[in-house]
Each structure stands twice: as structure tokens, then as C-alpha cells.
Amino acid sequence: MNPNKLLLSVFALGGGISLISLAGPAAAQDTPGVMPPANAVYSPYPEQDFPDQVFFGDTHLHTSFSPDAGLIGATMTPDDAFRFARGQKVISSTGIPARLARPLDFLVVSDHAENLGLPAAVANGDKELLASEFGRQIAKIMEPGTLASKFEGYEFWELASQTGKDPLAETNFGKSMWAKATEAAERNNVPGAFTALIGFEWTSGPNGVNLHRNIIFRGGKDTADKILPISTYDTEDPEKLWDWMEQAEKDAGVRLLAIPHNGNLSNGLMFDDTTFDGRPIDSAYAQRRMRWEPVYEVTQMKGDGETHPKLSPNDEFADYYTWDKGSFGPDPKTPDMLPREYAREAYKRGLAYDAKLGVNPFKFGMIGSTDSHTGLSTAEEDNFFGKIVALEPTADPIRFNEPLVGRFSENDSDKTFAWQTAAAGLAAVWARENTREAIWDALARKEVFATTGTRIRVRVFGGWNFTQSDLDRSDFARYGYDNGVPMGGDLVNAPEQASPGFLIRAVRDPEGANLDRVQVIKGWVDADGSTHEQVYDVAWSGDREAGEDGKLPAVGNTVNMAEASYTNAIGEPFLQVFWTDKSFDPAMRAFYYVRVLEIPTPRWTTYDAKAFGVKLPEGAPVDTQERAYTSPIWYSPE
């Protein structure tokens, strides 16, 4: 045997051991409980089998295992990321002690599949990496360990990866690093207390436009390790991704779903009318898309994708963290791209497709997540660690002024800057228990909602026979499930003369701001195929009345800029309403989703200004109205 091999394999074992010791005693307190003695007295719970809890998490987080994080300063490993999400204190990549005020309930560490683990491998002198020419070269470049050498290494990797060929294709590198990633999830998954889902990001970005998807596994390491993540080196075509997912389910016994994000940076490709290779989309495409991509990440640090002010000119809340300056590629945004980039417009166009093809290709649920590249899932305005390590909290102007989109342009008007980043978002799921299976299943059936980082809870049931008095039922949830459908569901078989009715309840974040209003957003397609939308204010705080323009007046504002504070003197902690669609036409396809708005609270830049004694960036609002979007309920005449 090769003596070097011996030492190396011993060393690899050592690597595993030290990872285990990281999880050590601190994690032990969350070990599952033991069975109580047989004579224990249990309480007489009514038999319930419907989802009765909301779990808040993040399905999109990068760590030092992602080349575009770890090669530019991120030191947090997947293990660190899980520990942080579980509420433990960690030291951020820039040396700042970091802790969440409230832990998350679940987390997907979704590192980029393209050379997943490369930065960690460079740092540790991974033998699989150093067995390749590319690996030796990048290790050599980064040898000085300085920031400059890291950036040089990053550029070296980017150049190699932009050829579209995996620079490490000939090695076993991918396999060994994937096993480390799944191991971290396995170690941090504590059913009932914290769910660590296995996942990765397929980073398709033809010409710099964003077609990225996060792939989420239902099961554990035992099956996940039987496959290797597909990467954009394999294909940039979402349909090929679905082929791969189908094959992986057959070959390895995994269950997978894919969550796309940032249509706003896709230059019209996210919800396009044609397939990746240019054919008009057809019913087979629609079916497959909805089989594999049941939910969409609608809000995150790189902007909000619910709708765009140009698409929804009558919606005064539409201009929310609008990022519409092109993509990461060289091509600028043109107005014709917008309808194919935003969720609400996709829902409307999906109805038209449903009428034409018999299948709706854009019938997805909505969640939020962070897409943070710091290993720290932070979506709170007063505890926001930024999009990348260089933008972690600091008084340095880089925190606000770094351009993130349009870097290559000479005009500032083509750019989106760091201060425009949203401290968002969260994925909220309705489930019965905090386990991989229950959370994955909720995503699959779209019983989920998005928030911009706040922990608003919202529930909606749609049905044909609900009445005003049902809103007051003490068995609200059971009745709702028995006589209607929850968010993500379908309304069909409209009885004669009936209109759909919606029972809606919302409650503010227990540690957060009161609610301003609840809205129902309806979209529909008429007989000649044109689509429409309408925003209804259905419940609100105080005794406000709609003005002549039909708009409810603003809720007011308690934000104190200098102190970066607000009070709950306005708004309501609870809002609930029974709402029927009085303009319902049973011949027309429609969707309905609920938007809940908080009262204004200080934006993260306002907290920063106070903490660091710096000026607000020019153009930055003092406050923000955080919100939640539910997955829609769809109506179809057939």
C-alpha cells in the first residue's frame, strides 16, 4: 500500500471525526424524548389529522461550500449554518458574534452544485482536489491565504466554470464533498425540534440570466448519497433537470422537488412562453413543470417577485424591493420581459394557458427564503448579515454602496446596490409536525406561504358554502378542511348561483409589528383570453374607510428614524374576515391569494444608521411594510 495513501485515508477519517466533535455535547440536549411510563395519563385531545402548526424556515442558504461564498471570504461550514439556525451563537466570517433572536424551525443548506465544497477542499488540501491539475492550480493561487489571493482564486474558478465544463470532472471530488454536505444535514436533523433538509442549488445561468433552482430532498443521507447533484455543467435546461430528477427518483429512491427563484433577474426566461430550446410550451411541459416545481421562492434578498409596479399599476404596494435592472449578464432589462418574470403575472398567464392547453404550467405555491451567502440565515431588519460576507454589518460604505447588479455598466442607473437588498425572507409551512417528511409534503401540496422575514401567521380556506358565522367557529380549522380547501388548493364544481367564499385569519408575529390590512388578490382570464387582476382590501385596522379612488387610506406611521424604533399604537394584532367574490363568473378561470401587510417598521438600513452612526443611503426609505403572501386557491370551471 502506498504510505501516502495510508496517511491520507487516516487523515480523511480524522476529518470526519473532527466534524462530529463540532456537533458534540451542545447538540445533545435536543435528542428526541423518551417514551413516558406506560401508566402516564394523557390529555383527551380531539382526534385531529389536519396541519395545525406553522413552521418557519429557509430553503435557500449558502455556506463556505459554495464557491461563490467560500472563495470570497465565507468561513461558515454547513454545520455552522445549522447551528446558527438552531439558535446557537456563532462567529461570523468577518468575526462578528452572531445569534438569531429566535431559532428557525427548519433549514435547507443549498450550496451550489457547481464544484460544491471547492472552497473547503482548497482550505483543507483535499486529496481528491489536489489529484487534479485544476485543483493544484487553484490551491497554488490561494496559497498565500490573503483576501487578494482568494479573489484571484475565485476569478480563476469562475473563468474555468464559465466554459461550461466541470474543471473537476475527472475526479471523485464531487462525491466526497456531497457526502460531507449530506452528513451535516443528517447530524443536525432532530425530528420534532429542528428539521435539516438535504438540498443543493442547480445554478443554470445562460448568459448570466437567472434560471436557478434549489433541489430539496424528502429523505435522508442514505438515499441522497446514492446520487450526485446535477449541475449546470451537465445542463442549463430546466426540462433536462426534470429528466434527471425523474431518473434519480427511479435509481436512488429519493423524492425530490425543485424551487426556482429570482425570475426578476431572468430577463424574461423564468416564466417564458417557450421552452429552453425554443419550442412553444405545451401540455406535457406544463404537467412536468408542475410535477417537479410545485412552489416558487417569491421573495428573498435579491428582491421581491410578487409583482412589478408596471404590471400592477393600480396596486400601491406593488413597488416592493423591485430589482429590475437586467440580470447578472450583460443584457439590460426591457419592459417586454417583465410579464415573464413575476409571480402574479405568471399566475394570470397560467390561467390562459390552462384554458388553451388544459394544463396550467404556472400553478405554483409561494415561499420566501434568504439566498444568503454568509452561512447565516438572517431575514430580520435589526439582525441582518447581508447577502455576502463583504456586506456583513459594518460602518464601511461597502455595506450600502456595493453594486450587485449591473456591475459592468458605467451608469449608476443600470445598477442595483447593496442598500437595496431586502432583509428577507422566510418559508412558512402548515404541517402537523416538524419533520423532513411533513415539511416536504407541505411544500409538495403548496400549503405554504411566503413572508419577507416576519413571522406573520395566516390561514385561508376557500369553499362554496361558507358563511359569515363560520368565521367565529371554535373548530375553524377542522370545519375549513371539511368544507373547503386550504391555500394551494383547487375549487371546482361551482354550484349554480354560488360564489366562492373565503375564511381568512391572520395574526401578527408574536414579537413583531401589528397588522395594517389583509388583502385578497384575484386574477382571472375572460372569454377572449385576456387576463385581469384586482386587489381587494378585505380587513384592516381601525375605522378607516375607502376614499373616492376606492383605496383604503394608509395605516399611519410610528417609526422613529433616529431611534430605529416603532410602536404597536396603530394596527391590529389579529385580522380576520369572511369574504366572497361578488363579481365571480363561473365560466372564467381565476385564482385568489391573500396578502397581509404589517404596519411600517424601520428598514435594516435605518437600524444600521443608528448602530453605526452613518447616514441613510440616498434613496433608501426609512421604513418598510413587511408582508406575507399565501399560495393561491385556484378556481377552474371544469
Partner: protein, 283 residues
Amino acid sequence: MTGLSRLLREPLLHFFIAGAGIFAVYMAVARPGPSPADVISIGPERLKQLYAAYETVWRRPPTAAEMAGLAEDFVREEIYYREAIALGLDRDDTVIRQRLRQKMEFLSAAGAELQLPTDAELQSWFAANRDVYRREPELALQQLFLGEDASADDVGRRLAALRAAPDTDFAAMGMRTLLPAELELSRPQTVDGIFGQGFFGELQALPPGVWSGPVRSSYGLHLVRLTDSRPGRTPMLEEIRESVARDWSADRDASARKSIFAKLRSRYTVFIDGAAAPHLARE
């Protein structure tokens, strides 16, 4: 514990034993005979290994010519390696230094990893680290919400009604909200995540099984009945022996590493001239 067994458990000794063992294997495998600095001999073991490595990557055995090339390449590597060491090229190479450091750190820990704790050891280690294994208390509850505030009269009236008819549809007596009317056994994090920080703590003071309150949440006042509870407790060692043993090993690893390094460091005299460059230090 006898002196001998104490000695046998000494981490530094393990370090040297493990190191010596690996060195012995290394000698046996790599140096079949005396091999002066200017002799490079490639034996059958090495050739087999080159052959296997090639086959793994290319999914076919190497041809004779390729095999000769592999051997020649190894010779080249070996010569460059020896010359580089002789020139001291390894000394300022961060990657090499890090690798060697990692190998040393691993070797320092290997002794503890291979060792199983005795019962007594595990017991005493567990006793010293009990708090880490403590399980949080859990409560199951029913609640009804009275609103942001309620008069003492109102609270008293409702409490009396609830206590008089414990089987009543209690949820119908409170304000309707999205707050759950009942929770199964839940940890503090879950309860506080719904009702606000500190609510679980308030509940712990309530008597079990009877409607009581009011208890203040971040929303307002609630009447609460605790329907089940599981006290926080430290499990018996037997219930979690495996994970304690794992942590014991990890802890031994860490302390072995620490004490070996301390002994190694004690052989050196270290000067760090911080005063000469104060601007290099971060506050």
C-alpha cells in the same frame, strides 16, 4: 487506577505509540530495504498501487507503455520531492504547512478515538457534564384568549364557568383568533414562538389540570388549562449511553490534542514581539 494503567491512558504516550505504529507501517511498506538518499526503488506494491489508481480513473487497466509512464512519473515525483525537501521548499509553503499541521493534529487525537471508555469513566464524565444533556420541560395546554385586556370581573366569571363545566367547548368562550386553542406537549421554543417570549415560563407556575389565569402573552390575556406536562430532566446515562460515549471520545480527542500540543510547545521558547507592531493588532 494503578500507575501502569494511568500511564497507558496518557495521551502523549498514545500519540507516540500511534505515531510509531504508523511509522512502522510506513517503513514496512515504503522501504522494503535500505534505501540511501540517491536510490529510488519501486517494488511490486507500489506498481500495484499505480495500476489500481489508473484503473479507477480511466475504467480500464493501463497498457504496458502507460504503466512504464506511470512508474517514470512516480520517479519524477519522488526525485522532485526529495530535492524540494533538501532545498527547504516546504518551509514557506502554506498548503504543505497546513497539511502537516492537520496530520499532526489528527495523530494527536487518534489515541482517544480508538479507545472505549470504561463504565466508571463514562459515569464520572457524564456526571460532570450533566447539564448538557438536560431535556427541556414540555407542556400541553388549552387556552382561550380574552383580548388585550379584561376586567377582573370578566376573568372571574369566565374562570368560574369553565371550572364548573370542564367539558364545555372552551374555545367558543374566547375571542376567535388564529392562535391554537390547544397544543400537544410542546417545548418552550414552540410555545414562546406562538405566544411570545416568556409565555412558557408563566405557564410553569400554573396548577395542572384546572383552568387558571389570566396569563399575559404578547397579544393580551389568556385563560389556560395545562392538560399534560413532562418535566425537564436529565436522562439516565443508560438512555443515552451511545451519544454520551461519542461525546466522551470527542472530548478526549480535544483534550488529548490540547495536552499534546501543550507538551510540544513547552519544548520551545517563543517570542512574539507584539509591541513592535501594535497597528497589526485588531482592537
